[in-house]
Amino acid sequence: MSISIEQRRQHRLMTIEKSLAKRHRKENAFRRMGLLAVVTGMTLVAILFISILMRGVPAFWQATFYMDVYFDPEVVQLEPKPERESGESQFAFNERYSQWLTRAGLVNWQTLIDNALEEALGEEVEPRQLRDLRALVTSGERYALRDRFVEDPSLLGQTVELKMLASANVDVWIKGNIDRDLPDARQQLSAQTRTWADQLEEQGVIRNAFSTSLFLNTDSRSSLASAGLAGAFMGSLFMMVVVIGLSVPLGVSSAIYLEEFAPKNRLTDLIEININNLAAVPSIVFGLLGASIFIGYLRLPLSAPLVGGLVLTLMTLPTIIIATRASLRSIPPSIRQAALGIGASRVQTVFHHVLPLALPGILTGSILGVAQALGETAPLLLIGMNAFVANVPGTPLDQSTALPVQIYLWQGNELRNFFEARTSAAIIVLLGLMLSLNALAIWLRKKFETRW
């Protein structure tokens, strides 16, 4: 009898031990799988970041000429800059000034650059080689020279050391982004231009310098080396102002109403389901909606950040409502009960007690929603924001692009050798903005977080 009990005990122990080993194995396997998933994810993110950084960071430095430019009075034949005379109306002065500007534009500024290059090369360039010579400096620099002169006409007759960007192809050549051993027929630059570029680099006239053009210039097609993000940045900024101005008040107030005041009935259930569904609608659908309503029906202008902002507001609203509701729900009912118990009205309860406590959650949700809107591209393509715009928009109604759309546009540029790096640089700028927004969200949450 006792043996049988002992046997049964043994048997039971063995079963337990067996199952225990199995459970441990399972647990270990699960842990390892989880770790593997995290490691895979991190590796992929690391590869993404490293490849973007490797390609993009060099684009912040560009081949730049440091040359003495002589504002030759024989080339710059222009009467003095008009001053407003007493008794002259503003309109008449503007007219006269704009005529002067047009004449300033007709001056052959390119000649000044040609002369400076000849000086630096120390050789006389024959007319038939002019084309090779002009391939060195990016074509936008002649307008930069004009603008500099218009600002300060006293430069006439003076020699100034100026920084000028090399053309995109020279930049590619100097940086070695094109195979230098390719035969002439496969090179973008003529043999003469390449020799000159190498010679000038050796003399230190061409240096690889940090370039602000990426940040300060607008997009450019005729002068690729000076294409920048300023216009797209302002466009994105205007859109974000519209998004924050509309979606945060609308989203937060509707969430407060739905969570704290609305009766629980079929209608509010339906609204809740709809909001949850809206959050899952693909963004391109909002673009189509925006194109037909804001542009087709309300007749708002094409390519305007205002329209982009409105479309992105529609997209961000559900995100903010959901985040705000979740944040309100996480406030313990005891807070409300205590407030109501000492005689506060419901509005007082919400605005004096619940909302301040829910604020960190609401802020985090809103900032993440806005950050998502900042990176959105698809709906903007449908409202004409993928156009080539060479102006910095002054108002939300001016035509403009946005940062992610600019990345898309550069990605499509024909000159791959130059724009692959430029695109990555633009991605770095956008990612930097996103990361700082997310950091802001985390900081705000930490700062206002309450524990109970």
Binding site: R186, S303, A387, N391, G412, E414
Partner: protein, 336 residues
């Protein structure tokens, strides 16, 4: 009180921004062909830099058909002023324009562009004929007297002079004007050499994955060539020109495409480029007429101009004068 003021200010700001939308637009708005886009953007930039009194025009893409559809949406400040097209406007498009009140369609021809076949530099060279391309692309081909599904899988099976390489042809989708030129100048002449295929069936291309249609721009075609290394892609000459370090171009009928051979008409696959100006907007949008005339200026689109540097094949003196005269006399395009 302060909060109220703030909300009043926000509402007033929004109202003001909506009401200014009704004010006149002072920037030219352009959309259309992605082949014309680089040229139009350069002109727009030079225009903005030259004329201090006008804004730099805004140039969008969307393909020739997409641009003309936007163009025909109607007259008004939230419709575009100019549609770029790498093909001539169709009579159906003129009709749909007319239905929406766009009657003054001014056609401006500004130069030529070549369409080239190019493959990766590390692959074999191609010497194509329209016939080869048709045989590689057709849905059905005659075999022993009856039409069967296209049997060819390698170029060398079509013609022994062609390399022994998988057939993959990357062509523009039908939203591009380039597609029409490709069909008209390559597929149709090739089709004529094969008597058994009826004219209507010429445009039926095989659907077994050997023909890849690209709705985006040429960079997408280039990316395709990186993924499928055997592929032959259809590009604009200017695009090929900017990427000569990775692409090699195929000859067509023994002629290598270049500015010279296309300008002289020797290379068969070329087409004129156009843009269409909305006559109704000429007096409304400042600078529209000036932009058009600036575009046709010898300094901008002639020999030695920035557009030629970007790969445009310029028109000769006579054609340029004719195009300008046609615009200045406001000759309206009509549906035949």
């Amino acid at each position: 009180m302060k909060k109220q003021m703030l909300s009043v200010a926000v509402v007033a700001g929004l109202a003001a921004s909506v009401s200014t939308a009704a004010m006149a637009r002072d920037t030219i708005q352009i959309a259309g062909s992605s082949t014309v886009l680089p040229f139009a953007s350069i002109v727009a930039e030079e225009f903005g830099n030259t004329y201090s009194e006008f804004n730099t025009p805004v140039v969008g893409s969307g393909g020739s058909s997409g641009g003309l559809r936007q163009f025909c949406q109607g007259v008004g400040e939230n419709t575009i002023d100019i549609a770029n097209a790498s093909r001539q406007i169709r009579s159906g498009e003129i009709e749909s324009c007319g239905e929406n009140g766009v009657n003054e369609i001014l056609e401006v021809k500004f130069g030529y562009d070549g369409i080239v076949f190019a493959s990766r530099l590390d692959r074999s060279e191609f010497a194509l004929k329209p016939e080869h391309v048709f045989k590689a692309a057709a849905a059905q081909l005659p075999q022993d007297g009856e039409l069967v599904d296209n049997p060819y899988t390698r170029w060398s099976e079509i013609d022994s002079s062609l390399p022994d390489q998988e057939i993959v042809l990357v062509i523009p989708a039908s939203n591009h004007g380039t597609r029409e030129v490709f069909e008209e100048k390559v597929i149709h002449p090739g089709c004529e050499t094969v008597a058994e295929v009826e004219d209507d069936a010429c445009n039926n291309l095989r659907g077994d994955g050997r023909i890849v249609e690209i709705a985006g721009d040429y960079t997408e075609t280039l990316a395709r060539l990186d993924a499928q290394e055997d592929a032959v892609g259809v590009f604009g000459l200017s695009f090929y020109d900017q990427n000569r370090d990775r692409l090699q171009v195929a000859t067509v009928d023994g002629v290598t495409p270049s500015l010279e051979t296309i300008g002289s008409g020797e290379y068969p696959v070329s087409r004129p480029l156009f843009f269409y100006v909305k006559g109704e907007h000429l007096d409304v949008i400042p600078g529209l007429a000036e932009y058009t005339e600036f575009f046709l200026n010898e300094m901008i689109s002639g020999y030695g101009s920035p557009l030629e540097d970007a790969g445009l094949i310029p028109m000769d003196e006579e054609e340029r004068a004719e195009a300008l005269e046609q615009f200045q006399s406001r000759t309206v395009a009509t549906a035949e």
